[in-house]
Amino acid sequence: MLNALAHFERAKPHLSGDVEARAQALQQAELLGLPTRRVEAWHYTDLPRLLNRASSPSGALTGNDFSALKPHYLVFENGQLSTDAAQLSAEFVAPEADLSADAMTLYNHALAENGVTLNFDNSPETIVVIETKGSETQHFMHRVKLGAGVKATVVDDHAALGYSNVIWHVELAADAQLTLVHIQQSGQYVGHCTANLAANAQFKQMTLLTGGDVARHATHVKLQQAGAKADLHSAILGRAVSHNDVTYTIEHQAADTHSHTTSHQALADAARGVFQGKVIVQRDAQRVDAQMQARAMMLSSEAEINAKPELEIYADDVACAHGTAIGEIDADALFFLRARGIDEASARQLLITGFVEQLLTHCDDKALADVLRRHIEQKISALTLTKLEADHAV
């Protein structure tokens, strides 16, 4: 569990920006405290309790090989950049403390000692992989700003073991396109991403959670001008006692904006899944198309899913829909595969893989899809299905 004051004292000599303001942010954060279930947005993710419990082993880490994407690599280990950010002019810019922010943002404003600042004005399409490792507490502030018509892909490859508080700020000018991928396979990650989109900008976020002890990935998208589009997709393979929370707020602030949100959560052992999705359509935002679909596949009787989709619509000419489906492995599908000679354990594995890999149907980049597929398949083959079989026999 993080002791924020001690951490601040230790980090103080290295902190950039207005350190006095940061100290105030910390004071305010400590006053508010880590969010508990009494805070509505955290109702299913009681952070103090989750961070205080004994952490469960993450299992073997899977190395993701992105070389086929020919990316720029930035590697953080225990908060320190171990590669050169100058290649991208991506040097960290310290946050300005906002004392009116929520506790998690305040902690980040106080303690963020690193992060990347990607400012692409009219660069050719760029692919950046940010790898995070180490076992100490880490606070990051990442910024991604794309100029008009610029395309980029950023991958957040998280394989750190400790607690991380991560903030993402995304600004997309007209016609810009950003694909932001989060892969979390370990540790305790509490992330908040805000994305502001101008006319016809496209923000695609793909979140893959395969083994973190605590995973909280909150995203707040503002579609500010006509034609802006958000594609928000997540897939979760929950095992052991992992806690996996994907929380979306999508604000349609302008007419003719679109959003598409899907979540596929496969939950084994005593894993918990949380899906919160809130679509807000403002009064003058006509002809909005907002689709939201959350699915959960329960692989054990001890697994738990909390799904809360919400629509708040103030315009009248809109097409909005949300749906939630929770089930087990389909017995008829299982029989179909077995009737083709595939043994029961392999058939289950194939069905779970297919379920989780529906994330990839939203990935246009084949090389990236291949990396994600290999990651998913390695994690699924490591999943012990003995528990399932025992359940099945009962």
């Binding site: 179909f336 595969l337 029961e344 297919g354």
Partner: protein
Amino acid sequence: MSALLEISNLQAGIGDKAILKGLDLTIQAGEVHAIMGPNGSGKSTLSYVLSGKDGYDITGGSMQFDGHDLADLQAEERAIAGLFLAFQYPLEIPGVTNMTFLKTALNAVRRGRGEDEMDAASFLRLAREKSRALGMDDDMLKRQLNVGFSGGEKKRNEILQMAMLEPKLAILDETDSGLDIDALKIVAEGVNAQRSPERGMLVITHYQRLLDFIKPDVVHVMANGRIVRSGGPELALELEKSGYADYRGNEAAHA
């Protein structure tokens, strides 16, 4: 010579409900048998009990298939032994491509039969050859298994699976359902291409129409969980004229 499939006095049901009530059926290698019968006579139950679907209780009789007692085998072991069920309603499996599914199935069956697994290149060649023979687009191999397939595409895909797995006995459960006449012809041609002296087929259908295209050697009428009459292809034509009224009466009398 021993029969490929020999079912004697088979009794099966779900819970307390008896569905198959003493069914006898013998199929020799190389023969095509058709089972016709009214809805609710137990035709689909027979196909599921033979292929090993969970949830059915076998309460009496026996099923011998090519030297195996089927009751001893799991569904996947029956497939490896050479039994194939073409589903009436093939399942849609999102996220699993047709290609991955076919390769997993083929290699599972090959392993089970003591053969080497097929490498990726040979598999691809074989899958393309077999699917083209069925008039299927290469694209169908890349798509997610049966997801968004038309009724005809799903049934063609079933016949493709049969062609890949090379079973000794193929059970076609209402393969004609949901097909227009053109799709029916394509599927029937695919089935006919796989008729051989070593292979038996059991064609389950409600309508005579399918049997215009897949000519059976023997036609059986099933009613109330039993084979009540057997004959040559002319029996199907007779049923087409007279309908199942006689057999329904029979069923009602038993009810």
